[in-house]
Symmetry: none
DNA sequence: CATGAATGAGGTTTCATTCAT
DNA sequence: TATGAATGAAACCTCATTCAT
């Protein structure tokens, strides 16, 4: 990503600002329906300044996508930070809750990122997929740990992990359907219980 | 939707052709990245001819979205045609199987439709949502019928119905993840069993 | 003016029809804002048929302009037919009255013709000017005859003749102003009296 | 009228430039026969720059028409500035002289404006008519003042005022006829005398 | 470093004209 | 002879990007 400026600190600072402001417009109007004038106004910068810190409109899209990625990664840290110290069921409950809450917060950005993958080069596309894959992996490890402890009994842990991600994204993608059916917390509770029902080992009758 | 031709039959015929061909390009390049020249080439028509049958590029997008809707509706008929005569478990198995298979066939089109909703007027947008809602309703009725027969035991049938749709769409949205994990038929089997596990009434131990 | 048809009689017949119908649309929407589809609909013919009888859209404009010219010429015959047998004052009154009445009838067409001169080749343009010039000449002859008889006393008969034409066209061009001030007949009476006041020889008081 | 620039001064400056240059091309080729490329070349600007200062081709037409209006209004000030301090006959002579001279200067623009009214929205059309009406009113006031002073004797002052305007416009509309008959100054003298002959009170023989 | 005016390629759409049926 | 579907050049307009100030 080319920039005319030489001041690295300023570049980072301005790019963060651009990403945050551009995200708002992109989410609202879509990438292709947003022009550089819209972006510059949203950023409260001149078009010329904009182009000192990014090389192209596509670069801005990448910044916005990166912003989404960073936010997801920030969540991941939070969601799994204590999971090691908790028993698997509690750890899963907390991780799923945090995941879905994070999706609720940044759902527009996440959905926008997925929609816009087509407009960026494959390498940037890979970043989104990587983050996603990393979160899946974290859940997978959690599930496998539970299996080893005998708490869970799972045939396809990878698919359950995928399913958890989808449940979280579902809250964003189908918000128009779910917001009539339940609140965020009810959603978390219901789907967490579904997952647990699928994976918890049958406790043998004494 | 304006058309300059007066021959209604020809209009329908050409529009169907345009929808089918444009769908291919749109799916591949995205709506905004496809220009009218691309469309005319894909349709093997001149640009002028194109505009005899549609009033604007957005009209073409609507045609493509409608195509997706029609295909989904065709599926619905097929998936639920025999469900009345089958016991709820079999009916659900068949319906879910058909739904996921249909998504597999028209996944690109479906995903494109969802991505492109932003670019069409609210009325066209509503059509997509309506079809979706109708399918959800069919599943809901199936689930409730099962509950009445005592085969299923479901607290939130609407949410299970939503979940089934999401499972189907998941196969499209996350194909890059699932195609490494399982085949289409395995996917159908696994998720059908998950759903059944969630909703089947516990058979009391004798 | 090229035509594909070989049947001369049919050509004349159709061209007359086209001129009459096209005139209506041209007058209403202007030449450039009217497309061949509009014309074909106004003529109740297919576009293909249209082009059997005319060679281009500009040809149709020429036909319409010719129609205006023919109507003006028809008027001229009527207005001046009896002028030879009347005394100059009466002849002038009648001619001016007829001229202004004719302008009232075909004012839209006349105004359209003047506006559209720019769009036709110089030769067609000349035709309009010729008709105009011929009418001016007729009035000039009438005025000079009056001078010779001692009824009129005119320094610049050509300019008075021009003025008469302008008075007639004024009724068309500034109808929005005059229609608030007087009726057609009042207009004729007032301006005829003005002209007579300007040109009638002072009868010396004995 | 939309503009992308925020610098009001520059907008005014460029718009004035565009109006002046576009007027030349419009007058020469007609509005519909002039394309944006012609305009941009006449203005010595790129098409993109053009569209920073106007929203559409029709906007440019409005600018050109406004230019004509401004010039007419500038004239009006000049023509009537001293009319209050002069006796009615002299005032009328001067006003008519100035009016006709102004038409001589801006005749192409005036004629173009009238021809092009069809292509602009009614509101812009009204502006042209308003300016015209104001000039008519000024002459009317002058005529009535003369009547009150007993210098003029006029039955229909409004129609005489209209007639004066038409005489002026006639010099533009029928220049092809009049330029063979007389010079501008002769034209002014002749028609001023005609009007005076029509309206001056008969001085009673002593 | 900041600005925003300038650029012109490329977007969508229209339309006079042709020609197979 | 009559039709109207097909054509593609050319119309109007937008926009990402550059660069003089």
């Amino acid at each position: 990503m080319r920039a005319y400026s030489k001041n690295e600190g300023l570049i980072s600072f301005r790019r963060a600002h651009i990403a945050k402001c551009a995200a708002r417009v992109f989410v609202k109007k879509g990438y292709s329906n947003t022009n550089t004038r819209d972006i510059s106004e949203a950023c409260d910068m001149s078009i010329g300044s904009l182009y000192r810190y990014v090389g192209s409109k596509e670069d801005i899209l990448c910044l916005v996508i990166d912003l989404g990625i960073q936010r997801e990664m920030a969540f991941r840290k939070k969601a799994f930070s204590k999971s090691k110290s908790l028993d698997p069921v509690e750890a899963l409950k907390q991780a799923m809750g945090e995941l879905i809450k994070s999706v609720d917060e940044i759902q527009d950005l996440i959905m926008f990122s997925y929609r816009s993958m087509q407009n960026v080069e494959p390498s940037a596309r890979q970043n989104i997929i990587n983050v996603d894959r990393d979160i899946v992996t974290e859940f997978e490890k959690l599930l496998i740990r539970g299996c080893k402890k005998g708490v869970f009994e799972i045939e396809h842990p990878q698919m359950i992990a995928q399913t958890i991600i989808v449940i979280a994204q579902m809250w964003a993608i189908r918000r128009w359907a779910f917001q009539k059916l339940c609140t965020l917390n009810e959603y978390i509770d219901i789907y967490t219980s579904y997952i647990l029902k699928l994976i918890c080992a049958e406790t043998p009758p004494r």
